[in-house]
Each structure stands twice: as structure tokens, then as C-alpha cells.
Amino acid sequence: MSNVDSLGAAMKSNIIPNKEYLLQGSIMNKYVDVLLERLRGLCDNVDSGFEQFHDQEMCFSIRDKARPTIVRSSVDVAVTPTIVEYLTELGARLEFEYAARGYMFRKGRMKITVFKINPASYDSINNKPEEFVSQSYLVEMSVLAPTGQEAIGEEMKAFAEQLKPLVHLDKIDIKRSVHPMS
């Protein structure tokens, strides 16, 4: 069987985790320690302490993009450092980029991240003092799962319930946040 065939078979039998289930919320800077402490207690990586991360996110688009929704398609690909040049050659255009710095937790197959957003580009990040978009940390809870596993949503809601009233994780409607007046 060729690679293409086996990939096609994997797609058909729904074993590729290509859907991301996502809940979002935020926590004010002042209370982030309380939240981290609670997550440490609730999540799996208790004994190792929390994992810190510092990522650079770059969003590329080719025109006719689909609107992202709260169950969104997702594909993980390993890349080489020249990925940016490659995408640009393909005709994709850098829409925006930012640096995310914060903490990551695991709970079963759920991933919970608590992070701040720094609107710096990759080139300038080391030269500028850090400044952040908001007075709050963004809190995201996500699971990568194959298509058709709707039960995971309930699992996530149940866990989000345990973080109330500290932080309210919910489906955030992007359209509303872009035009708060309408």
C-alpha cells in the first residue's frame, strides 16, 4: 500500500485527530497565581510543577479563508526552520504574529494553557521590552480529537465548571468580539 493510500484509509476511518475542541476565558493578572495553584491541584502534572512555554505564533492566510469556529479543523505538521519562506513562496501572506508566554497543564487528553500575548514580531522580540496586549491572561482549554467524538465536549465543560468562579471558560463568539456594538 502506498503512503497516500494508507493516509486516505486513516482519514476514512476517523483516526486522525484533526478537530480541535476549544474553550476560552481569561483571568486578570492579579489573580493568575490563584488559578495556577488550582490547576496544579486539578491537573495531571502535579508533581513536576507547571510547564512554562514561550511560543511564537504566525498566522498565514491564502484568500478565501474559512471562518474559524469553536470546533475547528486542525492538522499538526512537523516543519523545518524555512517554513516561513516556503509559505510565502506558495502565495500565503503573513496576516499577523504574536508571542505567547505562559504555563501549560495536562488533564487526561485535555490541554490547558494560561498565557499572555506580546504583540512583538519574531525578529524584534529580543530587542524590545515585553509589553502585553491586555491586563489579563488568556486561558484556553483544548483537545485534539478525531472527527465525530462529540462526547469530549461534555468532559471539557465538566472540567471548566471546576474552575468557576475564578475563570469562566466558554465558547467565545469571535464575531461578537470584533463588533461589540452589533
Binding site: 491541584g41 498566522c59 496576516e95 504583540p119 488568556l138 468580539s177 463588533h179 461589540p180 456594538m181
Partner: protein, 272 residues
């Protein structure tokens, strides 16, 4: 028959893994308590206890599954005892038992209490049976009294604790929906990040402000209004601008993410 044996093997395997995990956790807790006595914090200890109790739950869950054969029906029968040192056993038991000999085996394979303990237990049972009904009643009444006292103390400290926790939960707002929206729109749409936005204004207000208002408010850049003294730049307003301003003033409280337009308005409205 064979299937049962296989089931038993699987069960024991699962139990052994669980138990060794539990042992590791106990080890790490003990290590922390011994080595990091000064730096260890309560939450860390509680987290470790949570882990251990989770392991116990998992073990009892395994044992209570229907498929599990009742383990108490199985006995371990020692066939050969020896005074010689058994290296394999020594390694297997993590250097605890060097020989499978007469003085150790009864302790490790014991299913009943030791004989002298058993006699002691019997003595207590006899003593309990020999006292009169009245004495027993008197003693249990005294015991109840003590217990009630303890319950009272616990209840009182629980009340104290709950009121303290209640006052702590009243720390007010810990998250802001507006911040959530701002942050989410930043990471999904790049709002406020890109210098190449068509309007050329990085954040929110350009989308919200009626277009007519910008040419009508000259010199009120980001550095204009709030810092300057009130009335320092009272350019005359025509009625239609004033009406638009009024609309903004009403709309402003909704847009908490960007307060500047609202504060500018206050300063400009005061002199008129």
C-alpha cells in the same frame, strides 16, 4: 479454568503496577518531607496526598470489578524453606529479604494475627463481655459526652473556617469578559497586532466610531484630551457634532476595552 488463571494473572499484574506507582509516590513524598523540610509548602503536600488517595481509589476500583476473581480464595503455600541466601529473592524484594527461611516466612505469609496478639484480643473480648449492663451504659454515656464535645469543637472551627473562606471568595471579579474578547480576537483575527490594517488605526475605536466624528474633532489625538487641562482645546462644535458626541457618550460605557474616547468627551463637554 485456563481463562480464570489468565484473568488472575492480569489482575495481579495490574495490582503490582498500581502498587509500585503508589510506592513511588510515597517515596517522593517522604523524600520531600525529609529533604525539603524548609521549603515545602502546604499545597505541595496536599497535592501529593491527592495523588496518593487517587491511587487508592484506582486500586479499590480494580479490586471491585466483577471480572476480578476473589483474591481471598487464593493462598500462598511455601513448599521449600532454606537458610541459604537467595540472590533472586533479595533483588526481587529490593534488598529486604535475603533468605526464605523459617524465621521470616511466617511473618511475610501471615494471614492471622500473631498468637500472643490473638490472646490479647481474646482477653479484651472477654473483659468486654464480663462487665455489667449498667457499667457499660455508664461508660458509653461518658464516651458520648466526650464525642459530642469534640463534634462541637469541630463544628465551631468549621464555622470559623467557612466564614473565612466566604470572605475570601468575595475578592470580587477575577476575570473580565471584555478582556477575554480582546484576547481571543487578537489571537484569531490578529486584531490590534497588524500594522497593515486598512484604517491604519491599530485598536478598536475605528470600527466603532461613526466616521463623521473623526474629521470633526481636530487635534484630539491619543495624547490630546485626557492629559491636557479641561477646556484647553475647546474648538467650537456644531449641533450635529454635539449630537454625535451625545451618542458616543451613551455608547461609550459599552466599550470598556477602550476608554479613551469617553474621557475625551467628558473634558470637552464640561465647558459648553
Amino acid at each position: 479454568m485456563q481463562r480464570e488463571e489468565k484473568q488472575l494473572e492480569l489482575t495481579i499484574e495490574a495490582l503490582v503496577t498500581r502498587l509500585s506507582e503508589l510506592k513511588n509516590q510515597l517515596h517522593s513524598l517522604l523524600y520531600k518531607i525529609e529533604v525539603e523540610t524548609d521549603s515545602i509548602t502546604w499545597p505541595t503536600v496536599l497535592d501529593n496526598f491527592a495523588l496518593i488517595s487517587a491511587q487508592f481509589t484506582a486500586i479499590s476500583k480494580i479490586l471491585s470489578t466483577e471480572k476480578i476473581p476473589p483474591l481471598r480464595n487464593f493462598t500462598v503455600l511455601p513448599l521449600r524453606l532454606s537458610q541459604d541466601r537467595d540472590e533472586e529473592l533479595f533483588q526481587l524484594t529490593e534488598r529486604r529479604i535475603p533468605t526464605f527461611s523459617h524465621d521470616l516466612v511466617p511473618d511475610y505469609l501471615r494471614t492471622k494475627p500473631e498468637p500472643d496478639i490473638e490472646t490479647k484480643i481474646n482477653q479484651f473480648v472477654n473483659k468486654a463481655n464480663s462487665i455489667t449492663f449498667e457499667t457499660a451504659q455508664k461508660q458509653s454515656a461518658a464516651f458520648n459526652k466526650v464525642l459530642n464535645h469534640v463534634i462541637e469543637i469541630i463544628n465551631k472551627s468549621r464555622e470559623d473556617w467557612e466564614s473565612e473562606a466566604g470572605s475570601r471568595s468575595g475578592i470580587g471579579q477575577t476575570s473580565s469578559l471584555n478582556d477575554t474578547h480582546t484576547l481571543v480576537s487578537v489571537i484569531t483575527m490578529g486584531k490590534g497586532l497588524k500594522p497593515m490594517v486598512p484604517q491604519g488605526v491599530p485598536a478598536g475605536p475605528s470600527g466603532i466610531m461613526p466616521p463623521g466624528i473623526r474629521p470633526g474633532a481636530p487635534g484630539s489625538g491619543p495624547s490630546g484630551g485626557p492629559q491636557g487641562p479641561p477646556g484647553s482645546q475647546n474648538s467650537p462644535m456644531n449641533p450635529s457634532q454635539a449630537a454625535q458626541m451625545g451618542m458616543m457618550a451613551k455608547a461609550a460605557p459599552v466599550i470598556k476595552t477602550n476608554v479613551k474616547p469617553a474621557s475625551q468627551l467628558h473634558y470637552r463637554q464640561m465647558p459648553s
